[in-house]
């Protein structure tokens, strides 16, 4: 297993966001995580990327426990993510946003930058090339004049795409997408669904995706994991999940209360 979560838990004040959770993701899989609002899905991503510290349990990535590591170290190991509420660097250009993600794969320090040594220039060129390649993955949407525009000037859907490009540019082994289709229209959603498949095929990146749109979930996932109140209540293929009593109940239950 590439990623193995065992006995993970996280409590915020009185709220148990993640409750003794076990999850495993194999190399090359596309796994969807679904569950009602507040089920702890985003918290799970935050734990897996080191942005918050687990209260208990282990997160093994490629056999190594990453709990307690800094987010930058975890990215270096190969876990990259996007955010539910798109978090770009709005004043940096589209290209710079993606170039930044190469930070963990490059090493020019202060001295080399000041002296502008040939090795610095070469690395800088390479970074730029890799960034433009990552942006090219989305067809014509983020290339050309868009390279130099500030990220803030992009449309909503393009911001989401840029965030995925940024994560991809760090050469991850596993990509965590938090509601990648939120706020997109049906055509854009369909495009993105295809793209997720393409990322796995062409880049052989394992994907874990939080998703609300069941069409998308059905379209791409090898396996679906359902969370509720921080616990795993079901797991299996889309067809298995769709007929599961507890899943239906969890969704209906929250709909009834909210």
């Amino acid at each position: 297993m590439l990623l193995e979560v065992t006995g993970l838990s996280k409590v915020f004040g009185g709220v148990t966001a993640i409750d003794d959770l076990d999850i495993a993701v194999g190399e090359g899989e596309i796994v969807s995580i679904i569950g009602p609002n507040g089920a702890g899905k985003t918290t799970l991503f935050n734990l897996m990327t080191g942005m918050i510290l687990a209260d208990g349990g282990k997160i093994l990535f490629d056999g190594r426990d990453i709990v307690g590591m800094r987010p930058s170290q975890i990215l270096h190991l190969g876990i990259a993510r996007t955010f539910q509420n798109v978090r770009l660097f709005p004043e940096m250009s589209v290209r710079e946003n993606v170039m930044l993600a190469r930070h963990c794969r490059t090493k020019s320090g202060v001295l080399r930058s000041i002296l502008r040594l040939p090795s610095f220039r070469k690395e800088e060129e390479e970074t730029k090339k890799r960034a433009e390649e990552a942006l090219g993955f989305f067809g014509k949407r983020l290339v050309g004049y868009r390279f130099d525009q500030p990220a803030a000037s992009l449309s909503y859907a393009n911001r989401r795409r840029l965030e995925i490009a940024r994560a991809m540019a760090s050469d991850p082994r596993i990509l965590l997408l938090d509601e990648p289709t939120a706020g997109m229209n049906p055509r854009e959603t369909k495009e993105l669904t295809e793209l997720v498949g393409k990322i796995r095929e062409e880049k052989s990146i394992t994907i874990v995706m939080i998703e609300h749109d069941m069409q998308v979930v059905r379209g791409v996932s090898d396996r679906v994991i359902v969370l509720d109140y921080g616990r795993k209540i079901a797991e299996g293929s889309y067809a298995e999940i769709a007929g599961n009593e507890r899943v239906i109940e969890a969704y209906l239950g929250t709909k009834a209360t909210t």
Binding site: S72, L100, H103, V110, I114, D148, S153
Partner: protein, 577 residues
């Protein structure tokens, strides 16, 4: 496409409010003595600088009040028309009435016990030397007309607008800077030029016309050309572009090198003083502008540089007297500054925003108090400081006067500017920028926040320590009182007014804000008032500064608004689904 809604119009009520604010500002600058103080500075004929100030306030209020509202998504583009001019007139009138009331009150009641600056002379200036009732009426009328003219400026095309505004500013600047221009023309052997431009006081008619024509035509005809030239430069092939850039740099360096010979001792002195601040502003710009770390204790590093230099070079340094030369001491200065940077940076690694500002403010004070303390007196001499810091020597050449020091300072300023530029366009520069915009995302995207922050502090500290080292040798002594919080604040103002993260902006800001008060003594008294006002204005109206860094201009204000309107509409649509 959906149909567009009718264009939004200026609100006349808001115009009156703007006018009232302008009136209050005019009364304020009068009551604190600015108007009277500036009255001795003649711009042209009988127009003094105080009138220029008031003209600026009222015409500015008219211009501001008449500004067409932003175009929002779904609306037609607003067009300036009679209504805008009317808004300007209303603003001017409202402000004028306030000022007239103030003149009447100040002329009849004796307010001097409370406001010592509200004197009969002030009333005379404001009332154009006429008797009270007539003077107040005239003042109100003048304000109204100025508001109208300011409003009318909104009707002319952008290019003309810029040319008119620019001409006004340059005429005032030329008149004020007579003292600067005189030694320059003397140095160049063209005193006839200053004789032509100036009368005994203020500009001559010929000077006024000449400045107006030259400035207006350059604005009008060069508009757009500069940008076109830059675009052309960017399209050149890489190697040819490098040649052009290098040639440009060579010309600039030659020009900068010739300055002290041309402008003479006094101006070189002023430029040297401004240069040290400029150097430190460039350093703080890395910390605050690039990395987004609000450091209010920056003076600490300035002090560390100055004291290290003094201890190592002065023959009467209290504890040890290695009597190194300036250059031999420099590596130690860099080292101590780097250590100081890490010492300040480490405890504040987890702090953000206001907390960081307060803690660093504390560090700045701690540094000053340490140098002042009895405990360290054996090394630093406490209040007596360290004297006889020797001049900088380059082999047999000893830098003595301000004209020599100019070169030493220029060298370090150029170095700091180059380092800023090189770092901005690099891996660490991107990491700083990302950290400034969103620290936790930067960390999640692989930036080692600890290293990035410490590097910013260390590089900032080293540049400030250069400033300190130069300062110590230029003055020839160091005292703890020099290193007060005021220095930190002044440098911060330079950075913010110049435009966070914009290297040319910071340079211009430093020259304008440090050198100008030095040249125009009547500003000195209001220095911090002006700094404060500028800071507030910058924060409210132009967060990108005077010369915004290029990446910040790309993001036009208007586009932002449209984008947000669009996003809101999208969100609403989703809610509905």
């Amino acid at each position: 496409m959906t149909e567009l809604l009718a264009a939004r119009q200026v609100k006349l009520g808001d115009a009156i409010k703007t006018g009232l604010v302008a009136g209050i500002v005019a009364i304020f600058v009068s009551a604190i003595g600015m108007v009277q103080r500036f009255d001795s500075r003649i711009i042209f004929s009988s127009v003094t600088f105080s009138y220029v100030l008031l003209i600026g306030i009222f015409a500015g209020s008219g211009y501001q009040a008449a500004r067409p509202p932003l175009r929002l998504e779904g609306y037609e583009a607003p067009k300036a028309g009679v209504r805008n001019v009317l808004a300007g007139l209303l603003a001017g009138t409202a402000g004028g009435i306030l000022l007239a009331l103030f003149i009447l009150v100040a002329g009849t009641a004796n307010l001097r016990p409370i406001f010592p600056n509200i004197s009969p002379e002030l009333v005379e200036i404001l009332a154009f030397g006429r008797e009270l009732g007539l003077g107040a009426t005239l003042a109100a009328l003048a304000a109204a007309v100025l508001g109208l003219l300011g409003g009318a400026l909104q009707l002319v095309p952008q290019r003309l607008k810029k040319a008119i505004g620019g001409t006004f500013l340059w005429i005032v600047l030329f008149a004020l800077l007579r003292g600067v221009l005189a030694p320059v023309t003397r140095g160049l052997g063209i005193t006839s030029l200053t004789d032509l431009l100036y009368e005994r006081q203020g500009l001559s008619i010929a000077g006024l016309v000449a400045v107006a024509v030259v400035v207006f035509s350059s604005y009008f005809f060069l508009a757009g050309r500069v940008r076109a030239a830059r675009g052309g430069l960017e399209r050149l092939p890489e190697n040819r572009r490098r040649i052009v850039v290098l040639a440009g740099l060579a010309v600039v360096t030659l020009f900068l090198g010739a300055i002290p010979q041309v402008v003479g001792v006094f101006l070189s002195e002023v430029l040297s003083a401004a240069g040290i601040f400029l150097l430190m502003a460039l350093g703080l710009n890395i910390v605050v502008g690039f990395a987004g770390l609000l450091d209010l204790g920056y003076v600490a590093f300035f002090a560390v540089g100055a004291y290290t230099t003094a201890v190592l070079t002065s023959p009467i340094s209290p504890r040890f007297t290695p009597e190194l030369t300036f250059w031999a001491a420099l590596p130690f200065v860099i080292l101590t500054a780097a250590i100081a940077g890490i010492m300040v940076g480490t405890p504040v690694l987890r702090m953000r925003g206001d907390y960081l500002a307060i803690v660093t403010l504390g560090f700045g004070e701690i540094a000053r108090l340490l140098f002042l303390s009895d405990w360290l007196e054996p090394t630093f001499g406490a209040a007596r400081g360290i004297r006889r810091v020797p001049d900088i020597a380059l082999g047999p050449i000893v830098m003595k006067g301000p004209q020599d020091y100019y070169y030493a300072i220029l060298l370090f300023v150029l170095l700091a500017a180059y380092v800023s530029w090189a770092l901005q366009e690099s891996r660490i520069g991107r990491a700083w920028m990302a950290m400034r915009e969103d620290e936790s995302v930067a960390e999640a995207m692989g930036v080692n926040i600890v290293a990035a922050k410490l590097w910013a502090f260390v590089i900032g500290a080293i540049i400030a320590s250069f400033g300190g080292a130069l300062f110590a040798t230029r003055i020839g002594s160091v005292f703890p009182q020099t290193f007060s919080v005021v220095v930190s604040v002044t440098i911060l103002v330079l950075v913010i007014v110049g435009g966070l993260a914009s290297i040319p902006g910071v340079m211009l800001g430093a020259l304008a804000l440090v050198a100008l008060p030095e040249l125009l003594r009547e500003f000195e008294q209001f220095r911090f008032l002006i700094y404060g006002a500028l800071l507030i204005f910058m924060m409210l109206k132009r967060p990108e500064g005077l010369i915004p860094s290029r990446r910040r201009t790309r993001e036009l204000h208007e586009e932002e608004v449209e984008q947000d309107a669009w996003l809101k509409a999208e969100a609403a649509k989703q809610e509905a689904n």
